[in-house]
Amino acid sequence: MIAEIGQFVLILTLVLAAVQATLPLWGAARGDAALMALADRTAIGQAAMLLIAFAALTYGFVTSDFSLAVVYQNSHSLKPMLYKISGVWGNHEGSMLLWILVLALFSAAVALFGPNLPPSLKARVLAVQAMVGLGFLAFIIFTSNPFARLSPTPLDGTGLNPLLQDPGLAFHPPLLYLGYVGFSMAFSFAVAALIEGKVDAAWARWVRPWTLAAWTFLTAGIALGSWWAYYELGWGGWWFWDPVENASFIPWLFGTALLHSAIIVEKRDALKSWTILLAIITFSMSLLGTFLVRSGVLTSVHAFAVDPERGVFILGILILTIGSALTLFAIRAPGMKGGGLFAPVSREGALVANNMLLTVAAGTVLLGTLYPLILEGLSGGATKVSVGPPFFNATFGPIMVPLVMMMAVGPLLAWKRGNLKTVAPKLVPAAIATVLAIVVTFALVPDGPVLAPFAMGLAAWLAAGTLAEWAGRIKLFIVPLADSWRRLAGMPRSASGMTLAHLGLAIMIVGITGSSAWRVELVTTLAPGQSADGAGYTVTLAEVTRGRGPNYNYERGLLKISDKGREITTLTAERRFFPVANQTTTEAGIHTTILADLYGVIGEPGRTPETANAWTVRFFVNPLVPWIWLGAMVMVFGGSLSLTDRRHRVGAPRRGRTTAAAQPLTAAAE
């Protein structure tokens, strides 16, 4: 019964979305306030309806209602409650429902928190949101109904994929979707602005918080996913340049570019059409990501079972959305004229360069990700290739170097016309830190890859340059400390957020460098009591015990790690066998210090009688790897702090102050 309510409200939402996608647009064109105001109510209505539908599906999972096909396929009565709930979005149908729910929640947020938005802009934004929603609602209702019933009702479910039964992955999809779908706001604002024919500083001020929020969620989502892959897959790696990973990384790169170009629109009233285009591309990449993950056209190491026919539907939505948005852009963009001229060496110049580099970097990742598809298409399916990490390391890496180098300089430059001569003295400490970092790294690890010390230098350059800018803002050591403190307290939160986000990247670079340059590994076969030397440590398989978890059986190996007789830690590595799914998962034993992770996994014991007591043991020393997620946390914190800035608060900006700067299209186009 509850599921039928869910099904019913889904269809109601489709009707609401159809209304919201059309009438408010018409109202905005004719200046009809009542029709425009309709969008608010339908947006809130859609969110409420979808919350009911989502609650209905969750209820099905929580009560293990196996007459529902998705519950039967993805749940089991013995599963812990957390994974019954996370099972709601641990499958195709449920995750698409979550996708559309997030979209509706963002629309409702505009309706609720945007009373200061001009009514016509708001109505158009909500109408565009509804168009996107309409496509995906139709997709859910016609191809992936989460409320499909099974008859007769099975006695028990087939269980959620055991790899997904993990706290990290329980929260990864919602965060990722908040990021992916969050970019729909930037998209809708961009398309609405194209319809209005008006882009001004106030517009950018409305777009920025949404983009920032989406970016923050996406950063957190990607970091969580990579952390999960690190400890759950047992390969000791955290990023594989896999299509599914790239699918989330490409929107992140474009989103980061958008975040920065929106600053120029807001502060300098320039780069408008580019920012609009970037907003369209960013969301298109989110859609492309959804398509790549859901259609399975690319072979991924993170592959789950997929249905190609559904992929075609998403591809249709994708083409329709991108096509119509770009057509609109082509018609309207030439009319948009940028204000504020600037010299190449200026804050704007640095931000433009940031945009170019990020876009090119995202382009290479996109090319590498789609290349197998293109080649297969061109050769009629005869040539099958994959593009691996070497490609991405060789293209993405070199593009990032100038970007990071500039990140330290850009914030120091003045708007409009900067002067490198006045900036140079401020960068002296950063230059010293860079040289020190290179020398120290080289002295500590002389036999590692040659490039690694330079990467550490790059991180030091970014960190020291960012700190120099921060110190300059609060006049640290120039005025008395109490004054600096007052300046710090009065510093805009968006500025502190920028400092933190840039510092976070520096920290992350340290982690990426350390873990990819100096990782050492030991693979061996041990029986309980035996030990092996390797990777700078002695690894002893102390014992292997067998037992039962809530819905699995485990083999638990205790790995004693010692360094020249001195005992360091005992790693607990598990292999869990889930009888319901007939599947095994690996739980790595990890000992984290700030300098390195000691990481151990056990494999299968041998199959013959002589080897049945010998386990394959894989042991890694991953230097500095925790810094990657520490850096991501700092970035997320920076983004969140920036979001609390008074000037970013949703609805806070008043257009009244900026109407003078606003240029209606007709005036600008002459």
Binding site: N161, K384, S386, P390, A581, Q583, T585, G603, E604
Partner: protein, 147 residues
């Protein structure tokens, strides 16, 4: 600086960047493209591939043998099979009769040495290439539950 100059500057910089990026892409693509072959593909080739490639098919029933931390198995597309080996901990879903994609090189003796065995997260998942290969060898039709 005039608008015209700025535009020229931006365009030239973008072109330079794109050029550099294309150079990077072209040089990287050369040696990082990994081709996918099935055992039948390999048998049909006159010269065996020297570089890294991906081998896909099913893990032949009864072929998995452990030797220390090295696992020997045979990859089959149900027409031909190729002996392969991998040293290390295999992914959790590596099992006889299941689809597998392994990345590695051919050894002098004609067997395949895997550097990496690609994991799958889902036992009902069949790598697209493997499904295509089995379809080609006529051993699997769409709609079949599993080969």
């Amino acid at each position: 600086m005039k608008r015209k100059h700025r535009r020229l500057f931006v365009v030239l910089t973008s072109l330079g960047l794109l050029g550099a990026a294309s150079a990077l892409v072209l040089s990287a693509v050369e040696d990082s493209l990994v081709f996918f072959y099935t055992p039948s593909d390999l048998a049909e080739r006159s010269t065996p591939p020297e570089n890294l490639f991906r081998l896909g098919g099913l893990v032949e029933e009864g072929s998995v043998r452990r030797d220390g931390s090295t696992t020997h198995f045979r990859v089959t597309d149900l027409k031909r099979a190729l002996p392969a080996s991998y040293t290390g901990v295999l992914p959790d879903l590596f099992r006889e009769g299941q689809g597998v994609v392994a990345e590695g090189t051919l050894s002098a003796d004609g067997s395949f040495t895997a550097r990496e065995v690609l994991a799958k997260h889902d036992e009902t998942y069949m790598p697209k290439e493997v499904a295509d290969a089995l379809r080609e060898s006529g051993q699997w039709r769409d709609g079949d539950a599993k080969p």
